[in-house]
Symmetry: C2
Subunit: 391 residues, 2 copies
């Protein structure tokens, strides 16, 4: 039994992240899905199951049971299709489960993805949908402002210094997002400085508007294939070599300890063990930078930096493309946008294209990690991707 199958990504798709007033959640997923099919060179009929992630459908669009609607609108016969909700990590949770099904040999080719409409839902509905994912009755800027305060106290970094260091995360991710044609902030804000970030409107002290990712509409999709099938479909599959998923350890329950991200530690440990590699083997990372403070917290729990050293490392340029460990070369959630249900497989979209050498900024990378966080530190998925795994 314990002989499982290899699993590879053979194609990816993504809508532009931004505002899609005229599109439904189903449209956004299906647009990304068709984009991914074309990229993979497979037909709709080849897809044996659809794994779909979304957070806020019931609030923003008044709908549930979306897999049935997705299958209907694609014109397909009834098929296996499942919705997952893990707050902002919804489509990464979907990917971990889809991966396990292919690894076990239940399916040869499946689709995974997600969609969300937050921008066009309006600020009130969008905020309401997001706030459901916080255990306490507060918004996410408030959650992460609290995280920044915990970080300052725990690691004895004066808040003014921390604010300036965090600004470098915003500057980097806006710079990279400005280069990404599918990003919400494509072509804008490519050259921010610390003053720009600090002088922007305060959202939840100490976080300004430029410390926060935007509200976004969008869809993304990924086609997974069993290793042998993938090798028939493409000359350059990207293998998923390890995944980890953990829930628990929210900020409500763990307070200050939550910023050392206990589920992330568990998920990363599991993913690295399965892949048989370590943090130092990773060439670049796409991590969950919903706020500037969130990115260094992620890089610490994954193991790139010691606890309390991640923000300083970012300010020192260590997470830039030319640095020690490039983090969010796609622009991340801050530069690219954060259409919650589409975010995880959107990160995979960027990592896959980078590993395939389709982007010129990181041509020689072959190993990446995708990290997605859901809620107030409560749900984390880690996915390790490798492009030239010897097999």
């Amino acid at each position: 039994m314990e002989e499982y199958n290899d699993v590879a990504i053979v194609g990816v798709g993504q809508t532009e992240f931004g505002e899609h007033e005229e599109k439904t959640l189903v449209d956004l997923y299906n647009d990304a899905f068709r984009d991914a099919l074309a990229d993979a060179g497979v037909e709709e009929e080849d897809i044996e199951a659809i794994h779909y992630g979304n957070l806020g459908a019931a609030v923003t669009e008044g709908v549930s049971n979306l897999p049935a609607h997705i299958v209907d609108e694609l014109g397909l016969d009834p098929m296996e299709a499942v919705r997952y909700e893990g707050a902002c990590a919804s489509s990464s949770v979907a990917l971990v489960q889809a991966y396990k099904d292919v690894k076990a040999g239940y399916n040869d080719i499946v689709a995974v993805g997600g969609s969300e409409k937050l921008k066009s839902a309006g600020t009130e509905k969008g905020t309401e949908a997001l706030a459901t994912a916080s255990r306490e009755d507060r918004t996410f800027p408030e959650v992460f402002a609290q995280a920044a305060e915990h970080y300052s106290e725990r690691y004895d970094i004066p808040m003014e210094e921390l604010e300036e260091q965090m600004a470098h995360v915003s500057m980097k991710n806006h710079e990279y997002g400005a280069e990404n044609p599918k990003a919400q902030f494509y072509g804008v804000m490519e050259d921010l400085d610390v003053e720009d970030v600090r002088d922007a409107d305060t959202v939840a002290d100490p976080l300004t508007l430029l410390d926060c990712c935007p509200m976004t509409d969008g869809g993304s999709a990924v086609i997974l294939a069993r290793g042998e099938v993938a090798e028939e479909l493409t000359e350059d599959p990207v293998y998923i070599t390890g995944t980890g998923l953990a829930a628990g350890g929210t900020m409500t329950e763990y307070g200050e300890d939550a910023i050392e991200a206990l589920p992330r530690q568990a998920a990363a440990r599991e993913a690295f063990e399965e892949a048989g590699i370590k943090a130092e083997d990773i060439d670049f990372a796409e991590v969950h930078d919903c706020f500037t403070i969130a990115e260094p917290i992620a890089t610490e729990a994954i193991g790139f930096f010691d606890y309390g050293k991640g923000v300083e490392a970012a300010a020192d340029g260590k997470t830039r493309i030319e640095g020690e460990i490039p983090v969010n070369p796609s622009g991340g959630l801050i530069g690219k946008g954060h259409p919650v249900g589409a975010t995880g497989t959107g990160q995979v979209y960027s990592a896959f294209k980078t590993l395939r050498g389709e982007y010129d900024y990181l041509e020689d990378s072959d190993t990446a990690i995708v990290d997605t966080l859901g809620g107030d530190f409560g749900t984390v998925a880690e996915i390790i991707l490798e492009s030239d795994r010897d097999r």
Copy 2:
């Protein structure tokens, strides 16, 4: 590879179905979970993953990301925990995915379940949460009133005759629910007649209040174990020998054809094929009777009766405990209640206890099917259970 593991249920838990004003969704799941652990004789720490189903949390309680909250409140370390949403089939969808993980050997012991609060959410919020699962902007009584009209037209049965035949489903399920100590209608309405059902208030013509399941709060949980582990834990495991899951084919898209339940045909075919048995091998069924008309539609698509003959069969007593194929001996959703996210694993709770001989009304049964429907015919899960499978 293709050698998979056996999977068995080793314990089940359920809250009373009814009103739980003072309990949260997490409380209701965790109460049922602890009940299931005690039934299985295992500890919280033995559980390797939690698969949780819920429909309406964001609407009724303003929360999402519930797996993290569940793990926190159980006091467990961060662990694999996933939420599934498949409308009224949410926890059955969770069970199908959990089953696949154990079958593949990823886990030895996992928990599956769900919870929902519709009764204590109030009629407005409860109805809003449920209505999200209908593709069109209408309530579920309206969806199933339309289904009854389609049934009458398609099979040329005068509506007055159909109404009287449907009443027998209500009478039977209320009779059995009145005997079930965990049912919402325990001890009441044990002796309805056709006039009682027809003379009740009209909810959506032709459906009266007694054609409808009630609004319900509740939680349910099931412990699954890998076959070899199950055999160490208990002398009488109940094996899951086949599952099927399909989405698509909603009434919006398929109109009248939807009442022949295309996803249900696909899901049942898959489950029967995997189990290597046929509909005639089933000793009893727990099926999705959210409305009286829904039960015969289910029994037809599963294969117990020809299309257009299910309602007549019910009126003739063929689905009573002493009939050809007992359907919903637990009282079903109509007698027991329908706490949506808890319904699927609640059906499994009843089927498991019956197969173990804990209920005296069906002592010699050893093979059952559990059928759960989500949305306007769009998502269906089928689960086959066997108590004395030769192995």
